[in-house]
Amino acid sequence: MTGEFQPGPQPEPQVEHPDVIFCPDGPMLLRGDHVIEDEDGNAHRTTRPVSAVCRCGGSMIKPWCDGTHKLLRRSSRD
């Protein structure tokens, strides 16, 4: 026994936890509860812990993303 304090394992580095994430070529992720107003002035309340808002304009369930951006991106790449 040296009586010396032995530090435990180092804490993991501080990580970011943003409220909004812009996904490259994809939707905007929103954490928490929000009300979104679409182009026509209709309000849409978020219903889940994280929501994905369409940024590509192609979704069939706007204002939410439905993954359609993946097809748009592919056809523009091919």
């Binding site: 990580v15 996904c23 994809g26 889940r48 069939m60 097809l71």
Partner: protein, 313 residues
């Protein structure tokens, strides 16, 4: 749920031992007769760690003879799965590469058939097969949680919380499926249709448990999750359209429309905040993430090919 019907010598021996609570006979267990025999046995052994069987004593979950059979079957299965993998992308921009890898996958798919041509009988058969997983949807991913760092653990919980209805049992995905199944006039009792599950369904379910229950395979489990979520929104939309075309009840349609929206979120989380973050911490497990992803897509394509052939579609 009661234990399923045996599909060969090994499952017969194991299920009989489980029901009688006398596993001593398994010290000399027979060889599996077929892939079905092996996978039904493995499925039943895994099931002890989920909801279990009404006709099997709870103590047998950790019976050493049963565990040693499970281990052997798992090793064979993992070897089979690893023998099926293609060339994976080299480490780079993970999210972009991963979405590309999934988009490039070329395999049979059932949702287009359901949307346009499937009969009501075919869709009922498909839904009965799906009950094996969807009535315990997401549970295999929950096994992983204690095995992850703080950051990845929180990210997985963020996704899982949505799968579990954000705490509201009415919105829990497995429950949405159960309601749809009931309203469709099918049996929603957990495990009700296991005896008609084909090999490919058993393999799919066993892969999820294999990856979820072995800490060593945590990267494959995360990759499986990411591919599963990334291949869900568009097929779910086609499923919903097909169910509507065939006059299925609104609750069954809603299970799929919920997944169009939810999985467009989940795919971003699974690829970016979960697998992407995980690989920053454990880059040496890059290929295992792809192993899990490939397995998810390949097993689903095998199931789809089997059903399309059976239906001559």
């Amino acid at each position: 749920m009661l234990t399923p019907h045996a599909r060969g010598a090994l499952s017969h021996a194991v299920l009989t031992a489980m029901r009688s609570a006398d596993t001593s006979t398994l010290a000399q267990a027979p060889q599996a007769e077929s892939a079905q025999d092996a996978h039904l046995t493995l499925w039943a052994l895994y099931e002890q760690h989920y909801r279990g069987f009404d006709d099997v004593a709870g103590e047998l979950e950790w019976d050493p003879l049963l565990l040693s059979i499970r281990r052997k079957l798992e090793q064979d299965f993992e070897q089979t799965l690893r023998a099926r993998i293609p060339q994976f992308p080299a480490p780079g921009n993970f999210a972009e590469d991963f979405f590309g890898f999934v988009a490039d996958f070329d395999g049979a798919s059932l949702s287009g058939h359901v949307q346009r041509k499937a009969t009501k009988e075919q869709v009922c058969q498909l839904l009965r097969h799906r009950t094996v997983y969807h009535l315990k949807e997401s549970d295999h991913t929950t096994w992983l949680i204690p095995r992850l760092s703080d950051r990845v653990k929180a990210a997985v919980m963020e996704l899982q919380f949505d799968e579990y209805g954000a705490g509201d049992p009415q919105r829990l995905h497995a429950h949405l499926f159960r309601r749809g199944i009931e309203d469709s006039g099918l049996d929603s009792e957990y495990g009700a249709y296991i005896n008609e599950a084909p090999l490919e369904i058993l393999e799919e379910n066993n892969a999820m448990s294999l990856f979820g229950l072995n800490r060593r395979l945590r990267a494959a489990s995360l990759g499986f999750l990411a591919a599963f979520e990334t291949t869900s929104s568009a097929p779910s939309r086609r499923m919903a359209a097909g169910l509507q075309r065939l006059g299925f009840p609104a609750s069954m349609v809603e299970y799929y429309t919920e997944h169009v929206e939810a999985d467009a979120v989940h795919e971003q989380l699974a690829v970016r905040t979960i697998c992407g973050a995980f690989l920053e911490e454990e880059p040496q497990l890059h290929d295992d993430v792809y192993f899990g992803a490939w397995t998810s897509m390949d097993l689903e394509a095998r199931y789809a090919a089997r059903m399309l052939k059976e239906w001559a579609a």
